[in-house]
């Protein structure tokens, strides 16, 4: 009656569980909207308001009066000179002449980071509602239970990042001269790796938790440091030494750098390789830890 010992796919249930989480999300457009509204506000307000390039235009700086007074054509020359200094300063600081593009790409890391951070919450809910116990009583591989959570978070993150990129483009993101649509493959690869690593961490934190308050506290504690101690909004090289050290172990830095190189900059192959190496190691290490620990800790 119950001879199910035929060749059963060891990954059975993985997609079913992933799809369950995704369905809850795409069947509910409000959640989807709320997920991307914050990065859009950031882009719109911070990205557009911090019009750093405009600081150095001749219109915004009244030139000091000197003797003899400058001739009108000299004023124009100085104005041009100033704005080329500004562009140069922007370029050397942000790698691109406009701050909006710089931070809009950072926002892709931001939305991926946020989605991953909240991925632990659904684990907590599944445990509290008894769903997890029901799943644990079925022959689904324990690792699949965890991987389903990770994959659904990754897919959500990538879809939201795509929407953010699309909106950023509409708001005036200017891609680099070397950009080709093929670069997007690299962008997705980088975002895939970081969301996989980050959601593994946050799901691991949630693996035995029954309190969403704890999850919220952890997310609140980590989201600002992860974002500001990275190059998502501001270049790390201008930060104090100690902060730079933190940015160097912050995976958000590497994901942002990789996506910026692929979208905005002229690619530095050496740096890009380091980015991907770091992100790859980050994703593999934490998802492996997740699978190993799920064997031990999903059931008590």
């Amino acid at each position: 009656m119950t001879k199910n010992n035929n060749s059963k796919n060891p990954l059975h249930g993985l997609w079913a569980l992933t799809n369950r989480d995704l369905k809850k999300w795409y069947k509910n457009p409000v959640i989807l909207l709320l997920g991307i509204i914050q990065p859009i506000i950031w882009m719109g307000l911070l990205g557009k308001a911090m019009n750093l390039g405009a600081i150095f235009t001749s219109n915004s700086i009244s030139l000091p009066q000197i003797n003899p007074p400058l001739l009108p054509e000299q004023q124009i020359q100085i104005g041009q000179w100033l704005s080329s200094v500004a562009t140069g300063a922007m370029k050397s600081t942000f790698g691109t002449a406009d701050y909006f593009s710089y931070m809009a790409v950072g926002m892709m890391s931001f939305v991926v980071m946020f989605t991953a951070m909240f991925s632990g919450m659904s684990m907590v809910f599944d445990r509290r509602l008894g769903f997890l116990n029901k799943v644990l009583s079925t022959p689904v591989a324990r690792g699949s239970i965890l991987m389903a959570k990770i994959f659904s978070a990754v897919i959500r993150a990538l879809v939201q990042a795509t929407i953010v990129l699309g909106i950023a483009y509409m708001l005036g993101l200017s891609v680099g001269a070397d950009f080709t649509p093929l670069n997007l493959i690299g962008v997705y690869a980088a975002l895939f790796l970081i969301s996989m690593g980050l959601s593994s961490i946050f799901i691991l934190i949630a693996i035995r938790s029954t309190r969403q308050e704890t999850q919220m506290a952890v997310v609140n504690l980590l989201n600002l440091p992860l974002m500001f101690a990275s190059n998502a909004l501001f270049p790390a090289k201008l930060m104090p030494e100690w902060l730079q050290t933190i940015t160097k172990i912050n995976p958000v830095t590497y994901a942002t750098d990789a996506t910026r190189q692929l979208i905005l900059y002229t690619i530095d192959m050496h740096q890009l390789a380091i980015d991907f190496l770091f992100l790859g190691a980050f994703a593999v290490i934490f998802s492996t830890i997740g699978i190993v620990l799920s064997w031990r800790f999903l059931s008590k």
């Binding site: 249930g13 369950r20 069947k27 509602l129 008894g130 116990n133 009583s137 035995r208 008590k300």
Partner: protein
């Protein structure tokens, strides 16, 4: 081993090193039997079930479910069992049908087969009309039936039901009982269930174990347990009840025990119908007048009272310490703490 669907020996679960939830429990359940765990909330019923369905690891002892050890061959166990948990675990955002298919996928049942079974089972639990409605719109009874359908999707050998009628109204409860009886009759399924409703245990179970504070206190068929009390219960009141006439009643042959409770005498007698007139005569001869008399065949409540020293109904609202233990246990199990149920 043949003939035993469940062999449990010395099964123990200790939470946080000091909270003993299940304390060396031994029992066997025969093929095709409905076996019930009866006990108050916090007695260790759910913890026992969670160990048997491989969700919790036992601290000590072992159990074999349809030939598979729950620790050494957990996946063997998982293949042959179906579970209906205490909570409503169906996903509210999905439809009833999608939920059943999800369960099928968790067992790795191929899609063409699972579609067929889902239709069959939803038909069985009379949800076929609502199969494409979101579960959020279902009533409590419908959700419980949906849980039954999900639990049956892999055609389990042993079916675990944790408080199957908790929180249901009277009609829905009766309907649920019918489904459970049907499963036994039609499929010869072995069923292990927990309950704290006496009438439920009495009505459904072939055998019952009464469990309290993690220990099995007594075990047997409902009838055996009742007869094990050794007689019927007679309650008798007399006019002018200043004087204690317990000793007078005790002298009547076949009276086993007399207790005076709130002005009435609770008398345990053998062959109540025949002994009652003799008792009345004896009371009269002692110069007292009988004002009230009732005779009841023992119910499981009496059995429960006899073995635990308290009535199962009373304890729902009383006993602070007991309540605290219950909450501690739920916490340890990692569930939501609910005040009462």
């Amino acid at each position: 081993m043949a003939g035993d669907a469940l062999i449990v020996s010395g099964l123990t679960k200790v939470f946080n090193k000091n909270l003993v939830a299940v304390d060396h429990v031994d029992f066997t359940v025969k093929e095709g039997e409905i076996f019930g765990f009866l006990g108050p909330n916090g007695a260790g019923k759910t913890t026992t079930i969670n160990m048997l369905i491989t969700v919790l690891r036992p601290t000590d002892g072992s159990a074999v479910v349809c030939g598979h050890d729950i620790v050494k061959d957990a996946s063997g166990v998982r293949d042959c069992i179906g579970v209906v948990p205490q909570e409503y675990t169906a996903d509210e955002d999905l439809t009833g049908y999608e939920n059943v298919i999800l369960c099928a996928d968790l067992y790795g049942i191929p899609r063409n087969e699972s579609k067929k079974r889902a239709e069959e089972l939803l038909e069985l639990v009379e949800l076929i009309k609502f199969k494409d409605k979101q579960v959020a719109t279902y009533s409590g009874g419908m959700r419980r039936r949906l849980e039954l359908a999900c639990g049956l999707i892999n055609r389990p050998h042993v079916f675990f039901l944790d408080e199957p009628t908790l929180g249901l109204d009277v009609q829905t409860r009766a309907a649920t009982w019918n489904y459970i009886k049907l499963l036994k009759k039609e499929y010869g399924m072995t069923i292990f269930m927990t309950t704290h409703y006496l009438e439920e245990a009495d009505m459904l179970c072939d055998r019952i174990a009464i469990i309290d504070y993690g220990k099995i206190i007594t075990m047997g068929t409902p009838n055996d347990l009742k007869e094990g009390l050794g007689g019927d219960i007679m309650t008798l009141s007399i006019q002018d009840s200043e004087e204690d006439i317990s000793d007078l009643i005790k002298e009547v042959p076949r009276v086993k025990e007399v207790k005076k409770q709130e002005g009435a005498y609770r008398i345990k007698v053998i062959d109540g119908e025949e002994t009652a007139p003799i008792i009345i005569d004896a009371v009269r001869a002692g110069g007292h007048k009988v004002t009230r008399l009732s005779l009841t065949k023992p119910t499981l409540d009496e059995v429960y009272l006899e073995y635990t020293g308290r009535s199962i109904r009373e304890e729902e609202e009383s006993r602070e310490g007991f309540r605290a233990q219950r909450i501690a246990m739920r916490k340890a199990r990692g569930e939501r703490t609910r005040g009462g149920h």
